[in-house]
């Protein structure tokens, strides 16, 4: 029996000494970074996930369009949701969920781009061309995200690392520094990326996506000649012209698309929210002031806006995207991020500022003529600037917050908004930093007015 006792004791000792007893395999559902970047296909899957943020569950695109649309004078709302009404009444609370989701969505893209740039060199198996292409796309997406973050929130923390101690306590970085980073990222991306698309559709960035974004950034920074030359590069590539007819602009792979985000079933989240079902009223009807801004002959008013009558009342709703659910047939829609129409307007504005009146008129007329309108009658610098602002309001309505940003750039925002919405204050030009972020990063400060 003492044998049994000693056997038992030995058994215990085995337990003490053998640390393997608690070793476990990595979960079958996950990959180590080495394995995630083991080959081109897998590395591309890492990148694809970043693109998917814009129209999948995070659905950043529609949140920008809709929330900023109701915030300014593009959309009104029939919703009783206090979170929505906070936007509509331009008194967004620091704990507003949509506001946090916008912030979180863009920073999630930033994080994933940073992680890709950190990890991509781990693997020796990736081809150099893929590596270069992926780096370029990650930098493009990072720049794209920061562009929106600073235009919505002002100074934000500039994070270009995945190092958690840095990223979790970063204070706000000045706008100038962030713009420098954006321009650095885009110009590097421009070199990394090819002219042709790396994918079968226009759903991943090529060189022209980077240049088109660069044109916009230069315009916002009032580098007029740089903006003009970048826009010219895109227009002159001839890959995107002539402009589509109005009803086919927002289709997948439309001619004027520079980059768009892929959708699984041929409809965008935005379309599913903005277009009402047969029995319901639109949650976000087009505002009266926007409807009234269209010139009489403007075909965009009928092509890009639709209306429905429910309970005896007519509602107008945005109809750029026409699918609210999966469609069969060839008219699938992808979520457009950059298109040639905007490049004409960028160049027009840059040219006016550079005193190239004729050039500006020409670009403006390209947009006007496509909408069935005659050439612009504006002839001096001030008039053309106003005409461009008006044209952009119509051409780019309910697209990625253009209206909000342009109102801010032109300095007209306080005038326009305080007339429309009494709670508007000058500090409303920036949305509040989400309270969640303030709670979890003690070095972060709130925007004035919140």
């Amino acid at each position: 029996m003492y044998i049994k006792i000693s056997a038992a004791c030995i058994l215990f000792l085995v337990f003490v000494s053998c640390k393997k007893v608690v070793d476990i395999d990595p979960p079958k559902t996950q990959l180590t970074p080495e394995k995630a970047f083991v080959n081109d296909q897998s590395a591309i899957a890492v990148l694809s996930n970043i693109y998917a943020q814009f129209n999948s569950s995070a659905a950043i695109a529609n949140k920008i369009t809709i929330q900023l649309g109701i915030y300014v004078d593009e959309l009104s709302t029939t919703s009783a949701d206090p979170g929505v009404l906070e936007y509509y009444n331009t008194s967004v609370s620091t704990s507003n969920a949509a506001n946090l989701n916008i912030w979180k969505g863009f920073y999630s893209v930033v994080y994933q781009c940073n992680a890709l740039l950190d990890n991509i060199d781990i693997s020796p198996n990736l081809t150099n061309s893929t590596k270069q292409q992926l780096k370029g796309e990650a930098k493009f997406l990072r720049a794209f995200s920061y562009f929106y973050l600073i235009n919505i929130y002002g100074d934000v923390p500039l994070i270009v690392t995945t190092e958690v101690n840095t990223s979790s306590s970063a204070p706000r970085t000045s706008l100038v520094q962030i713009y420098d980073q954006i321009i650095l990222d885009i110009t590097t991306a421009k070199l990394d990326l090819q002219e042709g698309y790396p994918s079968s559709d226009k759903v991943r960035a090529n060189k022209w996506a980077a240049v088109a974004l660069l044109a916009r950034v230069h315009l916002y920074r009032q580098n007029w000649s740089a903006a003009e030359s970048a826009a010219t590069e895109v227009i002159a590539s001839t890959m995107y012209s002539p402009l589509n007819s109005l009803n086919s602009v927002f289709l997948s792979n439309s001619k004027e698309t520079i980059i768009q985000f892929w959708t699984q079933n041929g409809f965008t989240v935005e379309g599913s929210i903005l277009i009402p079902s047969a029995t319901s009223i639109p949650t976000y009807p087009v505002s009266v002031s926007l409807i009234n801004s269209f010139e009489l002959a403007d075909q965009r008013k009928t092509s890009w806006i639709n209306s429905v009558t429910q309970g005896g009342q007519a509602y107008n709703f945005p109809f750029k995207y026409k699918n609210r659910a999966a469609t069969s047939g060839g008219s699938g829609e992808y979520q457009i991020a950059l298109r040639l129409g905007e490049q004409y307007l960028i160049r027009a504005e840059a040219r006016v500022r550079l005193n190239n009146i004729n050039g500006a008129q020409d670009d403006l007329n390209v947009i006007r003529n496509r909408a069935g309108l005659s050439n612009t009658s504006s002839a001096n610098q001030a008039d053309i600037l106003t005409a461009i602002e008006q044209e952009k309001k119509i051409e780019m309505f309910c697209e990625w917050g253009h209206r909000f940003f342009d109102l801010k750039r032109s300095g007209h925002i306080n005038l326009v908004m305080s007339a429309l919405k009494p709670p508007w204050r000058t500090t409303s030009a920036f949305l509040p930093i989400p309270q969640y972020e303030l709670l979890n990063n003690p070095n972060l400060s709130q925007n004035p007015g919140y």
């Binding site: 215990f12 180590t32 995630a36 949701d81 319901s280 709670l439």
Partner: protein, 1082 residues
Amino acid sequence: MQLKVFGLRFSTLLTMKLLILLTVVACLQASAKGFGQTVSLSLTNAPLEQAFKEIKKQTGYSFVFTRAQLKNARPINCQVKDAELKDVLELCFRNQPLSFVVEDRYIVVQTKTTINESTLSRNSLMDIVGKVINENGEALAGVTITAKKTSKATSTNERGEFFLKEINDDDILIITSVGYAKEEIPINKQSNFLIRLRIAVGTLDEAIIMAYGKTTRRLNTGNISKITAEEISRQPVSNPLSTMQGRVAGAFVNTQNGLPGGNITIQIRGRGSINAGTDPLYVINGVPFISTPLNETFSTLSDGINGKTSPLNNINPADIESIEVLKDADATAIYGSRAANGVILITTKKGISGKTKINVNLQSGISRLADFPQFLNTRQYLQLRQEGFQNSGVVPTVSNAPDLLVWDTTKSVNWPKNLLGGTAHTTSILAGVSGGNEYTSFLISGNYRTEGTILRGDQQYRRAGAHLTLQHSSANRKFSLDFSSTYTSDINKQLPTSLLSLLRLPPNIPMYDNAGNYNWVGIRDNNPEAVLRQKQSSQSNNLLTNLTLRYWILPNLQYRTSFGYTTIEMDQVMTYPSISLNPNFGLSSYAYYGNNRNKTYIIEPALEYSKKSKFSDLKLLMGASWQKSIRTGNFISGENYSNDDLLEYVGAAGTTYITNLDIQYKYASVFGRFHYAYKEKYILNASLRRDGSSRFGPGNQFGTFGAMGVAWLFANESFLKKSSFFTYGKLRASYGITGNDLISDYQYLSSYRNGETYQGTTGLTPARIANADFAWENNKKLEAALEIGLWKNKVLITTAWYLNRSGNQLLEYPLPFTSGPFGSYQANLPALVENKGWEFELTATAIKRKNISLSVFGNISISKNKLVKYPGLASSSFANTYVIGKDLSIYKALKFTGINSQTGLPEYEDINHDGIISTPSDWAVVGRTSPFFYGGFGSDLKIKQFTLNLFFQFSKQYAPGLSTIPGPQSNNFIVALKRWQKPGDATAVPKAGVLLSSPYFNLSQSDAIFYNASYLRLKNISISYQLSEAIIKKINLNSCKLYIDGQNMITWHKEANLYDPETGNTGVGPLKTIVFGIQLTF
């Protein structure tokens, strides 16, 4: 019916299969009763022992004797046929120097005193032999027998036999065994004893299950509270955790949701962790039970109206023999790294050998929601809305005020009553068979329970289960096995969408439009009528099995191995047909399917040595434990169905999104315990455990934990021994270190997982921010307690004080989203959290007479939590959440200073004096959400066949609630009637408004909605009537009881703006239930 008992010394039967046992049980039903049995003997000049063998064979009666006694026995001649047993025995013992006594199924052989007299005259010392059995005639091993005068002691062997040498013939034997009432037997010159011990009930000597063993309240050095099967049985609830509420000092039990399957949380002695789990470790029959809700794995999308579902709901309370709550270091440290939050041991019922018994319990009753929130009626609501438009200078239009302009302003619906006002019917049936013999006992029971719903629609909960236990020991008592298995299957049909947010719908909102379709105007999320089209069905299966094999290598050295296997699985389907969805969200039909499975294997070998001598009692335990848990699951979200009738079938989905789960968890430990008691006065207990857990990264997996407990039973000291007032007194103290590993798995591993689909292929997304360096959280527990018993222990008072300090805090450190979409990562912090408190328990037997007894009992726990230190708190992400020196559950909010009597707007204190009110910079600590004190009290009254049990439960606490901003298109609590209406009004409710600005929004971030959620509940009332013996005999029953049980009968609380003080505004409150039942034993 008398069950046969096999021989004490002669049986060679080693094992017995259940099937045979059942057959035997069935056959033996026919056996003759009592002492009237007949015997046939044909013996010529045979030894007496042979006669004993024959008689035993024929009757099953066992003989108790020693061979020494038979030395002088004469051979016998006996020829009888079908003679009465008693006559045969008299024949055999005629002219023998021996006599006999028949007791139950034993025939005790005694040496005739005449023989002894000669020896006595020379020497008053004698040798004593005996056997100790329990009420069922089973031998009891390890029973201590002490001679009172000389303090000579011994203990029984595995056959229950003992031998004491040279004892005074007028001494008294004291027989003690854990869990049995103490017996004192005068020797009276007898040399041969059959001693029957009775199970101690409700006293200091009642058995208490402890970690890897048993103890009693008297001898325990740690803090263990017990809930008995009887207390459990009186409460008509489906989750065993509900039965603990208010009954255990130091355990704060909180219902999260009162609907079937709703989660119930337990926090033992406060929150020691900043944000690692604070659930106790659950151990069912020795096997750790994963208590994490199975539907917690995936997104919150898989929560239905009943929230997270507690896996403990799969344990039928009626199968439970006892629940023990282990609190201090001494009691818990042997569970090492998982013991920081306390341990809850659940022991299921076992079979009782003896006559085969059939037990049937039938009950049926109804449940309703106890309290309904009070909202404005249509007239009051519309008046408020009009006022709001007026105050804000906004003209009501069809789109911004359909309640004023479109809907029927004469219609008024009380939504709480409409949606939650149903009556649920509950029925439960339990039937069991138990029995066995000296070597083997069994219990087989089955149960079925069905609960209706208080909601509208055909929601219901059904549960069926089976429970089987088997105990067996070999004839020589060297080997024994203990097997138990419980299988439970339940199906819970509820709504997949919470209705709580719909309670505040405008009272005149129509559910249908003029065309008869669902109305979606003015509805933010869900139309309650449409929600009824949605379905949620969760089916769980749970198998708990464990087997313990024991072998006595030496009479006092036992080797045992326990094997456990637990599997719990849950299949969920949640369907959302498009007709039920708000078309404004642009959603088409969708459905969720979740499958989760959790398997746990555990092996625990152990060696236990015990040695009793004159004054001391030594017990040593050494063991090891190896556990592996595998959790797998998938969550599927489906879209694009061609027909909504196919929503429950995942194959019909045009598009599916699948998330998989694969988690392994391994756990290995060695542990030891040393227990030494001296003269039943001084007790020392020490335990040590070395643990390894796979939840930690390489290099941090192992940790060592341990504790020491001491007790001084001062009432046993000579200065108090004679006191009839102080009959029990114990001072005990313990100190030790335990750990906490309640964190997610794989947090040390940097990895990518499946992400979103893009261009038809699935993307890869970073799974987490990995940290390879985190390690155990250490929880140091100190406890001191005084236990006293007065007036023959009619009054028992326990006072315990504890101080627990958790350091090396293991937490999910919250991160801003600038660090990625994760929100947190796993890390250690040098923060220190302290919990200290007092616990008082009192039990008093006020009256105890033959026909009437009354006892009262109660407990109260006062706890205080404090963040002692946190280096760098100000620059951490917790800077706005915690304050050093304050409770972890502090509630930070704006300080509401009242309504400006001129403007009618809410005002707040400008804490940082910067002239503007902003959050979080103007937040102040306005209170805490952890309870200040809680407990329960009750009484048990018995008058003849009637019993009346009452139990009250209380808690003093605060909780945040819903805001009461008057104006938006949603109903308000009746407090809104007191709103500001004109300059000069002094009130706490702001003026109505429809264009809300930050003073309004800030209301929900202020202490204006931090409510007093203290309450007192008549938790349980139970009345029963036991039919008298006479009637029972007549109808051929063993016992029959009729009863009425009521749960959550009355709640007293102050705050009308909370739906329920316990669940606040976040879950359906506990239901009020009344059942009628009958319990029969055949």
